[in-house]
């Protein structure tokens, strides 16, 4: 699904990622953990193709294609989805309009027929129910005046609609209370299957109680310094990031 080889990236000339290696197979969920400033969000944004993140060396292969050569919209159409840490408010563009434009551009890219208004509405109502989103939110401007939890649910709604092959959740748990966290996790788990992969970027272990990962990687100073199974997250929670960083520098 996704292979990251020795990926280096910088922002405003400052090196943030310093040699990431990662392999994600179909159906796997990988958690990326790490202290603030370790490069977690940079990795997520580089994979989604955000401007002003400069890849200085390394390669990323997604489903046998060079991901780094693709424009952001092409990555999305090929099946990469980034759930934003800070979803953007867009006054004047209705949520429904965005969702329809998104699903149809993905469908068109895949050579499928675009959805007519009726089919789309039926589908979107079904997906909105999955994240317990009230229908009025569909008709409002994108994320405008949404609470933190509503914004994150809106991200998962978009993800559920687009059915990506690789979902990248960038600190989706930040700013969520426990009820919203459960709803979001339920939405994510419903999408989980043997052909879909996920990268769950998080600072805390809490989210991983609900979205159980196959692998956990710890990122520090732009490198993965330790990988393990879900028990690594628990160990981190107990001992803190200081422990593992000390451990890494001692090694």
């Amino acid at each position: 699904m996704l292979t990251v080889n020795n990926l280096h990236a910088s922002v405003d000339g400052k090196a943030i990622l310093r040699g990431i290696n990662l392999k994600v197979n179909p159906g796997e969920i990988h958690a990326i953990m790490g202290p603030n400033g370790s490069g977690k969000s940079t990795l997520a944004n580089v994979l989604a193709g955000r401007d002003n993140y400069e890849v200085t060396s390394g390669e990323v292969v997604f489903q046998d294609q060079n991901l780094l050569e693709m424009e952001p919209e092409i990555r999305a159409r090929e099946g990469v989805f980034l759930a934003f840490q800070y979803p953007v408010e867009i006054p004047g563009v209705s949520n429904l309009y965005l969702l329809k434009a998104a699903i149809n551009s993905v469908k068109k890219h895949r050579g499928e027929e675009e959805l007519d208004a009726m089919t789309f509405l039926k589908l979107i109502k079904e997906k909105a129910a999955l994240v317990e989103m009230k229908q009025e939110f569909l008709y409002r401007s994108v994320n405008e005046g949404f609470s933190g939890g509503e914004k994150k649910r809106n991200e998962i709604l978009q993800m559920a609609l687009l059915e990506p092959h690789l979902s990248i959740l960038d600190e989706t748990d930040s700013g969520l209370d426990i009820d919203a966290l459960k709803i979001v996790a339920h939405g994510v788990n419903t999408l989980r299957n043997e052909s879909r992969s996920m990268l769950v970027v998080t600072h805390y272990q809490r989210l991983l109680d609900y979205i159980v990962p196959d692998y956990v990687h710890v990122l520090a100073h732009g490198k993965i310094i330790r990988s393990g199974d879900k028990s690594l997250a628990l160990e981190l929670e107990a001992k803190g990031y200081g422990w593992i960083e000390d451990h890494a520098s001692a090694a």
Partner: protein, 461 residues
């Protein structure tokens, strides 16, 4: 050279003195203009001519015209047609689409081509007895006395040279009179189409609503060809107590045309005037909108949207005069400027001494899509009362990069994303258009224009 069209101005159409050219034209054509047997109109024409002869066209030395170069307009020899062209060609697709009614809009309709009514395309049948919609020439021929005290009563003598030129040499136009309590059951659409090269079109409109009367009027200016024309219109609006007028100016002429549009309104107690100006087309467009609220509790909205590219130039001048207490006004102009286009906004608010409890708001927001586009915006507040609320503001910005990335990360094409965001920017103004089919039509037209211009948006990154 087949298929290659060279646009150039012929030397013999350039003028040394624009003013003299039109004074001469008056000599040649004045006996063919509407209202020949109406003495008071003739003296009004002469007064305006004298004023035009004395002051001429404005220049960039006039503060009110500082940012709008008029040479391309005043240096060309535009001719007023003395008679309608027989058998106007409406067969090509451009003419057809320009004159096509707005989809889904049930309305009364009056069409003028090069200044002359085109009755075959008009439909003003079935009007209420208390409602009169006629052409100016018809009113002047049948009962000129009904408009004697109204025509030229609002514009005033301080207006600019273009208005004086219109006053001297105006052609036909729209006259709408609603008696007390009358309601125009459907919107009225008046279409001014220009067709022949170097035609001067000078419409003169008069709208007078009696007490409590209500009307919605759409005025659309279009081109039937790529020819260069000058559309110089004057509209006077008289709103009596409690009357309400929604007025929509849709400006969609060819890029080689010029438009100078003046709307002068006088509002009595508790009347409501709402003027929406939507500008897509025209090479150079100047709008002067002025409303004087003379009775307490009147309200005036001036809302504008313009979306420009290439070297289009649009200049919106507004004057809001609060002449009585408890009047409210709201101005919101939003523009999208691409390529080398340029816009000017000058919003003047005058609050007279006795106009206490005035609430006047004004705002001009611009989205710049290109580094070469330019906006000059200037508020001008003159406040002589002490218990008032007046606010003004101007913003200039670019498309938000984060929003662009957000939309693209959902698979949306950058061009579509750009037009979505641009559209969102003007949406709150278009959203205030009360006639739904018109709003849909304009939203679609704007969307299509943004997509059409997509290759001109610059880099896609």
């Amino acid at each position: 050279m087949a298929g290659l069209k060279i646009m150039q101005v012929q030397p013999d159409t350039m003028l040394a003195s624009g003013t003299q050219f039109y004074l001469d034209q008056f000599e040649q054509i004045s006996d063919k203009l509407p209202g020949q047997n109406v003495d008071w109109l003739q003296s009004s024409r002469n007064n305006n001519l004298a004023r035009f002869g004395k002051n001429g066209f404005p220049t960039q030395k006039d503060e009110d015209w500082r940012y709008t170069p008029l040479k391309p307009v005043t240096g060309k020899a535009f001719n007023l047609k003395s008679a309608p062209t027989s058998g106007v060609e409406h067969e090509d697709t451009r003419s057809q689409s320009a004159l096509r009614p707005i989809p889904g809009l049930n309305c009364h309709r009056l069409v003028f081509v090069d200044g002359f009514p085109e009755m075959s395309m008009s439909d003003i049948a079935g009007l209420d007895g208390k409602v009169s919609v006629r052409s100016l020439s018809e009113v002047l021929a049948e009962d000129p006395e009904t408009i004697r005290d109204l025509l030229d009563s609002v514009v005033g003598e301080s207006s600019h040279g273009f208005a004086a030129l219109n006053g001297a040499l105006h052609q036909d136009g729209l006259v709408v009179m609603l008696e007390e309590g009358a309601i125009l059951s459907m919107p009225l659409e008046v279409v001014y189409a220009s067709n022949q090269e170097l035609t001067l079109v000078q419409p003169r409109n008069l709208i007078c609503l009696g007490k409590g009367a209500k009307a919605q009027i759409i005025e659309r200016t279009v081109s039937l060809s790529d020819s260069s024309c000058l559309h110089n219109s004057v509209t006077e609006v008289i709103l009596n107590e409690g009357s309400e007028l929604d007025y929509y100016l849709i400006q969609d002429q060819s890029r080689s045309s010029y438009q100078v549009c003046g709307v002068w309104a006088r509002q009595k107690e508790s009347s409501r005037f709402s003027c929406h100006t939507v500008t897509f087309g025209g090479g150079l467009v100047r709008n002067d909108l002025r409303s004087e609220m003379t009775g307490p509790g009147a309200h005036c909205d001036m809302l504008g949207v313009y979306s420009l590219s290439a070297k289009q130039h649009v200049d919106n001048h507004t004057t809001m005069i609060h002449g009585a207490a408890h009047c409210t006004s709201n101005e919101l102009y939003k523009g999208v400027l691409d390529q080398r286009s340029r816009s000017v906004f000058h919003g003047r608010i005058k609050v007279e001494k006795d106009a206490q409890k005035t609430d006047a708001r004004q705002s001009n927001n611009t989205l710049l899509l290109s580094r070469d586009a330019e906006i000059d915006t200037k508020p001008q507040l003159e406040i002589y009362a002490d218990d008032v609320k007046c606010s003004h503001g101007a913003t200039i910005g670019q498309l938000d990069e984060t929003s662009m990335f957000y939309l693209r990360s959902r698979g949306i094409d950058p061009d579509v994303a750009r037009s979505m965001l641009t559209y969102a920017f003007v949406n709150d103004v278009l959203g205030q258009i009360k006639i739904e089919p018109l709003r849909d039509y304009l939203e679609k037209a704007l969307g299509e224009q943004l997509i059409r211009e997509k290759k001109l948006f610059g880099q896609t990154k």
